[in-house]
Symmetry: C2
Subunit: 190 residues, 2 copies
């Protein structure tokens, strides 16, 4: 998606150690016009699928998930990050390891909002090591719903998440795949 | 806003002690079609104002803020909740007291994304005791930006936040004002 890649090149900041900061349009300030274009693009890529819900995780997945869900006229459900104290029987739960922060956290989705009749599209801002996506797909499995695929705004192609998730048989559509960003220079897969 | 009030009556759950759960369309599952209607309504109410940025706080303010910002074709900035350890000189900061959780937390906005030339519309899902809105308006003051007003999806008219914030001279537009919800029965201001 060219407009997205242009924004990454113009506004993205490589913060060393494989960290890409896109606070200018996605992770702190959000450009709703770009989000709408992103939603339209996922709408095209998954046009032949029946989707009943878009599932993401707070916080930064919510914006692209919303505009994607609007294309399909279905709701977004966002998994909540919970401390171990907040565990709750009324929720599906999965443990997710954050390599960035080197700790595990729990994500939760209410049983009320996901069930066996659902056809789920996962949506997230980044795919790096794949742990968040694997946690979300675990929740889909627990609910008995069907997993249609995953839409990713920015995939770090030099990390192993994309391979891991695709090897699980999950269709992954990434709008920008970064091949390398060593020495602060961002290069995309074609 | 009638469609919103209907959804609150149909799906809202009064959880005792002044707590209203609207997890079905706003706080856990989000209906993007309703969010778009909400954005259009704020677009009408603030049509005569010049707005350069919509400012909210993570997480539940983001969805209505996004569709409002899209009406004005301006970005959303969402304040991040930070632990005391994450304090950062590059950010404006305000302390917010949560009565629900009986503790204080810090909200932060990068200096990069708010400055003296901005005309800010605050946006949030709930207005109850007003502490989040007062924290956001404090950040606007620190930045030197001008405050246009505040758009609120659901105001708890029986709590003191609305009066507090309006007494500060801030224009508050609430799409649904709950007058009472004692005994599980929700009644709106006309």
């Amino acid at each position: 998606m060219q407009s997205l890649k242009r924004r990454i090149l113009e506004e993205g900041r490589v913060a060393g150690d494989g960290i890409l900061k896109v606070d200018g349009f996605l992770n702190h300030r959000i450009d709703p016009v770009l989000m709408e274009e992103i939603g339209a693009e996922f709408g095209r890529r998954f046009a032949n699928e029946r989707i009943t819900v878009v599932l993401t995780v707070e916080t930064s997945g919510i914006a692209p998930a919303l505009f994607t869900a609007r294309q399909f006229r279905v709701p977004v459900v966002f998994a909540k990050k919970a401390g171990a104290r907040n565990l709750d029987d009324s929720c599906y739960q999965a443990s997710v390891h954050s390599f960035t922060r080197d700790k595990d956290y729990i994500i939760q989705v209410s049983r009320r909002y996901l069930g066996p009749d659902d056809q789920v599209l996962l949506l997230d801002d980044f795919l790096a090591n794949g742990q968040a996506l694997i946690g979300l797909s675990d929740i889909v499995t627990q609910s008995g719903a069907s997993l249609v695929g995953a839409g990713i705004v920015i995939e770090k192609g030099f990390q192993e998440g994309g391979r891991l998730v695709r090897n699980m048989g999950i269709r992954v559509e990434s709008l920008a795949v970064i091949r390398t960003m060593s020495k602060g220079q961002i290069e995309f897969d074609p």
